[in-house]
Amino acid sequence: MTLLLLVLLPLFVLPAPLLLRSRPVLATIATLIAPIVIVALIFPWVIPVFSGQTLISTFEWIPSLGLSIAFRLDALAMLFVLLISVIGITVIFYAYLYFAGKPEASRFYAMILAFMAAMLGIVTSENLLFLLIFWELTSLISFLLIGFYGHKQASRRGARLSLFITGGGGLALLSAILLIGKVVGSLQISDILQSRDLLQQHAYFPWILALFLLGVFSKSAQFPFHLWLPHAMSAPTPVSAYLHSATMVKAGIFLMMRLYPVFSGSDLWFYYVVPIGFITLLVGAFVAIFMHDIKGLLAYSTISHLGLITLLLGYGSTAALSVAVFHLINHALFKAPLFMMAGTIDKATGTRDLRQINGLFHFYPMLALLSFIPIASMAGLPYLNGYMSKKLFIVESLAVHQDGMLAVIIPVLAVLAAAISVGYAIRLFHNTFFNGKPRELPHWPLPPLNRLIYLPLVFFASLCVLIGLWPEWVVSVVVDPVVVSSQASSLYFIELPPYDLSVLDSGWLTWISLLTFAGGAALYSARKVLFAWHDSLPTVDAKEIFETGMLWLISRAQEAVHLVENGSLQRYLIYIFIAALLLTAWPLMQLRQWQGDLALMPIDPMSAGAIVLMMVMAVSVAVLHRQRLIALLFTGATGLLITVGFARFSAPDLALTQFSVEVMAIFIMMLALSFLPQTSPEEKKRYRIRRDAVIASIAGVGIAVLSFAVMTRPQQTISSFFLENSVSGGGGTNVVNVILVDFRGFDTFGEITVLAIAALAVFALTRNLRLKGRVSESVQAEAWHGYAQPYPLILRTLARPLLPMALLVSAYIFLRGHNLPGGGFIAGLITAAALSLQYVACGIRWAQVRMLTQFRPLIGLGLLIAGLTGLGSLLFDHPFLTSWFSYFYLPVIGKFELATALLFDLGVYATVVGATLLILSNLGRLMTIHGPGKEIG
């Protein structure tokens, strides 16, 4: 529970600085509470844990994923908790000085607290997936902190670069973790630590290790993923000090140490890790020399040291591991104050350029003095902590048990790296505090420093000295327990090798040490030559490369997408048709019997003639499609013939519906055509015509085959039920109609909804349509002269009595629909046709004002009638749309039937009338001589 609290504490405190935005001192103090309380909380456990005790507490969260809220506090975790909280305290304190009361400090505090929680989560997790959550959180918070000054381009780019690299690494780590989980069967670290052999012998091991290292290397800025770290320096300096040198970049190291018992000792481990560590060590150090940016220099130095620690871990020996742990502590202790120094100088001088910053010793002697110790420690000067780690590093490098060239190359490179690091340390110190006078500093004269800055510097400097003087103490109290805890100690007892921890030893090691100093000094003195040489090299800015790379990638991506997604409907349709053809062709190939066993219907000449005619019509439409009106007429004729076909094959209802719908559809298309060009332009690309003709033909063949195959097979259907129950259960003899309003009334219910929506949609579409260019040439005022009259007399006079007659007919067709072909739909269309005839004959406004109702309410009414009729059955606890009918006998009237289906059909009727007229009138409205005018319906 304490451990959970440990992680949650910073989050609890998080709102405090945000609320205390206007009170910087209070905000700082509030923020400081978190790390201080953490230290206090953890304090009782320091001694037990460093004495070898391990605390584990687990809460279930998502067992299906193997994800539990599990904490583990052993020496390794304890070391990191201490580093995180103690350095955290100093960094928060430093941030107070850095931000100097600006309100953005509270935003920073909030983020730092979130980060602290995440970091604590990483180091205390017992569950790998749980760990990964915090791992990714640190990446995200780092992203936000690097982009702290988001209005600056450099910040944004640096942030995105870091997110790209650490995010990608996180994904690799995720896959590694999931694979580990698959192999081990658990994601609890305790379980995994005991599965060393299982893992190392598994076929996935190379992949697991590679993915794992990809994850940790990206986080710990190992070559070539180191690129993000220098650009992270655009973050506020406290961030650099905390995240990018002391804590977050060490998360990768931490995880390597955490799983060290599982992975180390394999050859693969050595060959993956050592080269990368070495390259990182050397590249970091080498580049650091040339950095003019003081924070850049420190960043590359950090990279180099991270490489060093990685390298040590790669050696795989217990001794090397303990040196790595030792150096990890040392690096945190000397790098954090250096960043603070850099930040202080930056604030004071207004620049971080070492070429401008010179001779600051005269202005800030105390700062120079306090900075000297960490710098010297970094260079490895005796009696300071850095010296010890450098010496041990060289010892371990010599101790690597490798044959051949490696036995020579590794030590030589180690010495070289040490020399280079001496070089940049000298440069950092000399260039900052000596080397002549400051040049063109943005702030001049230099402001006095806030003395409080010395406080953290003194703290770190004294630690450097103390550890330098008594390294045995640190090794025995901290390092050894960590190493032991990192070795899955429960498995086997580790005999820690004896260290030669004497500071000034005689012999060759001293000489080597001196050699590194000499080399470093030589490098520094030759800096002019080196800089000149370096300047002649092409400048490589990783974030620029990333940015250009990204832009290149983005434009390539756009091109690639445009290749397929180019906005061409024709092409999309071709994809669809080809997909459909390919997918259906494959099963159809396996059709053994094209023709089924059903006896074929004999061909009679009339039907044959009609069918041939229909084909001719359809082909004519395709051939003549550019003559639009003609094509439209042929389409109408095709529809007409289909009507005949339905009638021929015993579907009178279909024939009626098809016919009236066809007429309406042609009517509507005709309306549209009056706006569109009367002909389609000739297509330039002839090959497309051929291509489309081929696709169309194949589609035609497919449909023909499919239909023939099915039509000729004998059929068992559910339809006999409808035929048997139509009269007894549905109360009607027209089975098709009974299906529509009763058996499958729900389909019809949906169908009228579709119609209503379509009408509403047409209304909405045409509502604000502006007719800037009326396309049809014949729509001109002079068209009214001569033979074209708006409302021809004969038409006008005869259309009016036709209306009531047509309504009577539609009433007839409506009422008989249940028993004979007909029904609400057809009746609705007849009514609509009769009413639209009034529109045609007498004008839209004329007819509009004479309508009993508006169209939209009619549609709504129709839908409601249908819906409420269906709902009525619920009153009798029958499902929706259960129909009721009964035959009655009244003395004079005789026998008659009442059926709710008729009421449902009335809803259909009203909807159809309203929808059809709404569509027609609103399309027609566009063409009034005075323009669209007020909406209709």
Partner: protein, 89 residues
């Protein structure tokens, strides 16, 4: 005899429809085509009625009525369209 008469009539009407079709194809003007279509619809009514006699059922009555009504409405609409370039108003 009646059956033969019906078949003969059917054949004649079918031939008439074919002739209409010829006019529909040939044109030359759009008015010719509309005329052909209109005539076709009317001949179609006859065909349907004759089929009804053959079937000895008047279930096709609606079809005939509907064709009459809709054929008329569409002819009017089409010509109206030619007169003004639009249908309504």
């Amino acid at each position: 005899m009646l059956i033969y008469a019906v078949y003969l009539a059917l054949a004649l009407f079918s031939a008439a429809i074919l002739l209409c079709l010829y006019r529909l194809m040939v044109g030359p003007d759009i008015v010719d085509r509309i005329l052909a279509l209109d005539t076709m619809a009317i001949n179609l009514i006859a065909v349907i009625v004759l089929t009804g006699i053959l079937m000895r059922s008047n279930v096709l009555f609606e079809a005939a009525l509907l064709i009459a009504l809709m054929g008329f409405v569409s002819t009017v609409a089409l010509t109206r369209y030619l007169l003004r370039g639009d249908l309504i108003e």
